[in-house]
Symmetry: C2
Subunit: 326 residues, 2 copies
């Protein structure tokens, strides 16, 4: 199947790498809003086109993976592109998903295409596991913890403070809360009890570090409700120790069964990701395969990870899956 | 939807409890191969019938959950019943699944019914997670660890040793192996390196305990390839400390992404189950809902957990799922 990439940043590069790991796929082409000549990709012999030229490539693309931002790109791009292509996106603004779904669904139905939105790990694999957990253990509680990992939004917020040159913010689950949930307790956890925040900051030479720290830990919404530690480091330390983009987290369903709910069960789905964008990209590519298979069975309209049967994600045949994995 | 139970042992009782947790379901009736008058169930006003009378109830049952053993019951029962009912089973003889699938598929197609086989946690949720893991991280390794938990087969094997009155065998993952895999190593693990076995044995008063221990730890296939510890206890201790049937385990996918595979990722699915049969029953009931929804869309034939989209397991509407869980 021929997969194209729309937008070539961290996520687009990750998609390109993931396609190389899947021998049933080939990269058809890459679209960019930059000048195509200035975008250098990894795959030999594959062309980069201007985003504006995409309609001319319509016949050469089975599924288009849209690698844009959720704030302003995807709400416009995905409905527009779904009119002409089978598309996948990673729209992650949870509260706007129902509206995005409706817009994309209308466009995909008009174009007789399939679109799978909000693909990644949260939303995405975490969502699937929240659903499985609740379906298997209807009497129970859901817990989602994020991290340890880099939050781009929180890092950006720190970078905007005057005299801060660079910053990296790690979101870290509070171990005591995690252990309590894993032990089968079902605690009610306040925001501060679930996650803590750790910042690494490069400041200007003669900056007032105490003032910067105060600005961080009191920042409403981002930090004020959390226990936050701030570490000032050099630019070299930042480069050496904090250039990767790890992330991860945990979805736990804690439930009970039996005539008197006397048996407790814990279902935990745990991700430790060396690279947040590369893992997200790998999920996008697996769901691109599903989109291809589902469309070839005549399925159109907007779908989410909830609508995709696991078998459609696999490169293996149904017979192989049953013999090897069941 | 009206769910019926075929076979009322540990699993059937668990199914009955699970149905009570799902307000969109009701227990239609229970079938037994014992005398119906001797089977006492938990649900008021629901009748127990002889297994032989099942065809007379055909119009009152949407999905039949077959709670039989995999060795001799299900290979006969599931194809036979799939001719007349939508059915779910927990067939768990991994190497015979392809043959069972074919037999059930033929029968279900003849009867225009849907059948979902090999539902539970392994096969079942573990299988689904092996599939997701391999699809998301094609370059990587799979690991499955079982336990800590009671193995019925190994407990039975110990009980058959002369002068053993009762026995309980726990399968326990080797912590060092588990930690190595979680740390992103991809070790090749021999049988002995993955699991150890712990036996609790009630022996006759003047039995030769050393001889019993020797019989256990040298038993081919069951114990000889494992590090096994044997503890002799009293019947009272057995009753007090070992009457529950916990189980669980872990499926891990360890994979790498990036142009030079420089980023490692760990996906872990972890179950800690207070009651093995009750959790299996809960999974069976969730897939009974999926069978009902899929059949109402015209889908027939034999399916497995790989063919079931997560949304079909949920009591929630598609809109509710997207708004609350995505």
């Amino acid at each position: 199947m021929k997969i194209a990439i729309y937008g070539y940043g961290n996520l687009g590069r990750g998609v390109e790498c993931a396609i190389m790991q899947n021998p049933d796929m080939e990269l058809a082409c890459v679209f960019t809003r930059r000048k195509p000549g200035e975008v250098k990709i990894l795959t030999d012999g594959v062309k980069v086109y201007s985003a504006g030229d995409i309609l001319s490539m319509k016949e050469n693309i089975d599924v288009l993976i849209i690698c844009g931002g959720s704030a302003t790109d995807l709400p416009i791009m995905t409905p527009e592109l779904a009119k002409n292509f089978n598309v996948i996106d990673s729209f992650d603004n949870h509260s706007n998903i129902p509206m995005h779904f409706e817009n994309v669904n209308t466009a995909a139905e008009v174009g007789n295409n399939i679109a799978i939105i909000s693909v990644g790990w949260d939303p995405g694999m975490f969502s699937v596991n929240r659903l499985y957990g609740g379906a298997l253990l209807p009497v129970g509680n859901d817990y989602t913890f994020w991290g340890p990992g880099v939050s781009q939004g929180h890092s950006d917020a720190v970078r905007k403070i005057p005299r801060v040159l660079d910053a990296r913010q790690y979101t870290i689950p509070v171990e005591a809360a995690l252990e309590s949930v894993r032990a089968g307790n079902t605690p009610e956890l306040a925001v501060r009890q679930k996650h803590k925040r750790q910042c690494f900051v490069v400041a200007e030479d003669n900056a007032d570090k105490a003032e910067i720290e105060r600005s961080i830990v009191t920042m409403p919404a981002y930090f004020a409700d959390y226990d936050t530690t701030v570490n000032f480091i050099t630019a070299e330390e930042m480069e050496r120790n904090h250039s990767r983009i790890p992330h991860g987290g945990v979805v736990i369903r804690s439930g009970a069964t039996g005539p008197n709910l006397e048996n407790n069960h814990i279902i935990e789905y745990n991700l430790k990701l060396g690279s947040n964008p590369e893992f997200t990209s790998s999920v996008l590519v697996a769901y691109a395969r599903a989109a291809y298979k589902m469309r070839s069975r005549g399925i159109t309209g907007c779908k989410t990870v909830f609508d995709v049967a696991p078998a459609d994600l696999s490169i293996l045949t149904p017979e192989e899956i049953r013999a090897r994995l069941l």
